[in-house]
């Protein structure tokens, strides 16, 4: 099993346990959703973040909670949970209930938490990039000191909007981090067949911005430490950064993926690099936490997810009238 390469840093025990908890929440939440989809209890498309927990949590944990902002993508469960969304509301949303985060009108691909800086997931690949630089433009014009992280996958870098928005962010020195979570596939197509360079972060030089690569995106502390550094750079007014982390999605692209494009061996190889068990070992080996403490966190995460399912199941369906509401603001 690959071990975490990071040295013990000044991060507090409390913060580390909190990050571990958030990774567990992502794993448990998505595992549960996957089971509910298979049982036919969840309709529509859902995209899972299982396997990509560290790449999400490590990045978000370097932000100021409730202050900084993110834009998220279709595979956004991990980002929403990393930003500590209410799991009950999120599960209810995915089940299409009136009590959901978006009153049952958005679903898995449109989870948002505006009050807490999550400007929302997006069903259009690359669709959040414009939103992200615009949000960053507001922060710059109002001099708020807030920064924005724009999450997207490896495939989104081949959308034209990537080129336009990163260039604009660069010339205006906007406080935004372009963050590509590279899980190596755009549905079925390997990214290496779709670009003629090794990695997308290498494109940074074309826009006059720094490019960073987190080669082991399953190493929570590696992601976190790199983001700490990048967040500071961006907050200091130096303009945008492009960063890419390498990770892997354990499940299919969405719930309807037969997975013919990759081998079982490849999937198994990546499962050995499980970000959660690696961080668990890291906590134990460095005597940051005891088995008992971690066990309690694990139990409490499972419990919170079960609770969210109970909440969602007992929540009402939205009224038909509600379909005609919320189109325009007053």
């Amino acid at each position: 099993m690959a071990k975490t390469k990071s040295k013990k840093t000044e991060v507090t025990k409390e913060k580390m346990l909190h990050m571990h908890r958030l990774m567990l929440d992502i794993r448990n939440f998505d595992s549960k959703v996957n089971r509910l989809v298979k049982k036919g209890m969840i309709p529509g498309m859902t995209h899972f973040s299982i396997g990509e927990e560290a790449a999400n949590v490590g990045a978000v944990a370097a932000l100021k909670q409730g202050f900084d902002m993110i834009t998220s993508n279709h595979r956004g469960h991990g980002q929403s949970i990393a930003l500590e969304i209410d799991l009950n509301g999120m599960m209810a949303e995915i089940m299409g209930k009136a009590t959901g985060t978006c009153k049952g009108k958005g679903g898995s691909m449109h989870i948002a938490d505006l009050d807490n800086g999550n400007l929302g997931a997006n069903g259009i690949v690359g669709g959040g990039m414009g939103m992200a630089i615009g949000a960053a433009l507001t922060q710059k014009m109002k001099n708020t000191g807030k920064i924005v992280v724009c999450f997207f996958g490896d495939g989104a870098v081949n959308e034209g909007t990537f080129h336009e928005t990163l260039n604009m962010a660069s010339i205006w020195k906007l406080p935004v981090i372009f963050y590509s979570i590279n899980n190596m596939y755009g549905i079925s197509t390997p990214i290496k067949d779709m670009i003629n360079i090794d990695y997308n972060y290498q494109r940074a030089c074309a826009y006059g911005v720094p490019g960073h690569f987190i080669e082991d995106g399953n190493d929570l502390m590696a992601v976190y430490n790199k983001f700490e550094e990048i967040v500071q750079y961006v907050r200091d007014g130096n303009g945008p950064v492009l960063v890419e982390s390498l990770t892997y999605r354990w499940l299919g692209h969405s719930t309807s993926d037969p997975g013919k494009y990759r081998t079982k061996d490849e999937v198994d190889e990546w499962k050995k690099k499980d970000p959660i068990s690696r961080f668990r070992d890291y906590l134990l080996e460095n005597k940051i936490a005891s088995e008992k403490e971690i066990g309690e966190i694990e139990a409490s995460s499972l419990e919170a997810v079960e609770e969210s399912v109970k909440f969602a199941l007992s929540s009402p369906e939205p009224t038909l009238e509600s379909a005609f509401e919320d189109i325009f603001a007053d």
Binding site: L119, G120, G130, G134, L137, T165, M168, E325, I327, A329
Partner: protein
């Protein structure tokens, strides 16, 4: 309220509306290609850089996708951007941001967040700029729930409705017409002169026939109405929609019930054009029973706009053809 007016062009009315709103609200700003030192591709921001500076009169790269996306993101987080799209044809590069993002975000988020942004689109032909620089694409946007679409046809309406669009908390597609930037008319100087969105205006009362139009065609319809009245004694009612979405159905239907005859005029292509929707709305309503003739449409031809000026002019409804159609209706031919 200041009652004073001044004769000014559409161009100056646009500058006045934006400048007044930018003075009133520091969150309002203008962005787009060449809006700064150049003063806008159509001169619609001349002098604004000097007053407001380059942060708020913000030149952009030639990146329509990024411009529209950034505007929407800025609007979501507290600003009130005005985008100078320049030629409406370029809005094609902005479609994801307008249609999939701006129009739907609030709904998808269950009523959270708002996107107060105005996309100012220089629409229509008449200046010899051929097929990629002459389109009126309003029907694409009236088809999308979550967008408001306005197309004023006089300098005063341009000022009043642009100000309303800027103050509205939703994405608004604003059509201004390349052929009419120099058109002059009386414009109220009052900075609180704001017209209501979603309200049509009877530009001329009449009893024989209702001509329903908007935007660039209003000027020609008014001219045609005047001429048929003088020459033939036909009393035309001119309904200026001003706002296409949300449509002021009541005013339209009231006029139809009064005259019993309907001609709809727009400069956009006939097939799938917005007046077809208005025609269908009338046909479905109880006003249908008041009709004593067919509902007629007069629109741009279904061809890409040709470069040659004689050909171009022939593709768009002229005063002569509007008159002919009015008489066709009145004489039940």
């Amino acid at each position: 309220m200041e009652k004073e007016t001044k004769i000014m062009s559409v161009r100056d009315a646009i500058i006045m509306a934006m400048s007044e709103e930018m003075r009133r609200d520091e969150n309002v700003f203008l962005m787009g290609e060449d809006v700064g030192v150049f003063g806008g591709d159509f001169g619609t921001s001349v002098g604004m850089l000097d007053e407001f500076g380059k942060e708020r009169v913000r030149d952009t790269p030639i990146s329509e996708n990024a411009i529209s996306g950034a505007a929407i993101g800025a609007a979501m987080t507290g600003m009130r951007p005005i985008v100078d799209v320049t030629f409406m044809d370029f809005v094609v590069y902005m479609m994801d941001n307008i249609v999939n993002q701006a129009a739907k975000t609030r709904y998808m988020y269950g009523g959270k967040g708002q996107i107060p942004v105005v996309f100012r689109c220089a629409a229509g032909g008449g200046v010899g700029s051929a097929a990629q620089h002459s389109q009126s694409l309003e029907a694409w946007f009236t088809h999308i729930p979550g967008l408001k679409v306005v197309a004023p046809g006089t300098p005063a309406d341009v000022k009043g409705i642009l100000k309303a669009a800027i103050r509205d908390n939703n994405p608004v597609i604003f059509l201004e017409y390349k052929a009419q930037f120099n058109m002059k008319g009386e414009v109220p100087l009052d900075p609180e002169f704001v017209l209501p969105l979603g309200k049509a205006d009877i530009k001329k009362e009449g009893k024989d026939v209702s001509v329903i139009t908007y935007g660039r065609m209003l000027e020609r319809v008014m001219q045609a109405a005047k001429e048929v009245e003088e020459a033939e004694g036909v009393n035309v009612e001119v309904v200026d929609l001003i706002t296409l979405s949300p449509l002021d159905k009541d005013t339209v239907l009231e006029s139809v019930k009064k005259t019993g005859k309907v001609l709809l005029v727009n400069d956009a292509h006939k097939t799938g054009g917005f007046i077809g929707e208005v025609a269908a709305m009338i046909a479905e309503s109880d006003a249908f029973d008041y009709l004593d003739g067919r509902i007629l449409r007069l629109a741009g031809e279904d061809v890409p706009i040709p470069y040659n000026q004689t050909l171009e002019a022939a593709m768009i409804p002229s005063v002569e053809r509007i008159k002919k159609y009015i008489l066709k209706l009145v004489n039940n031919r």
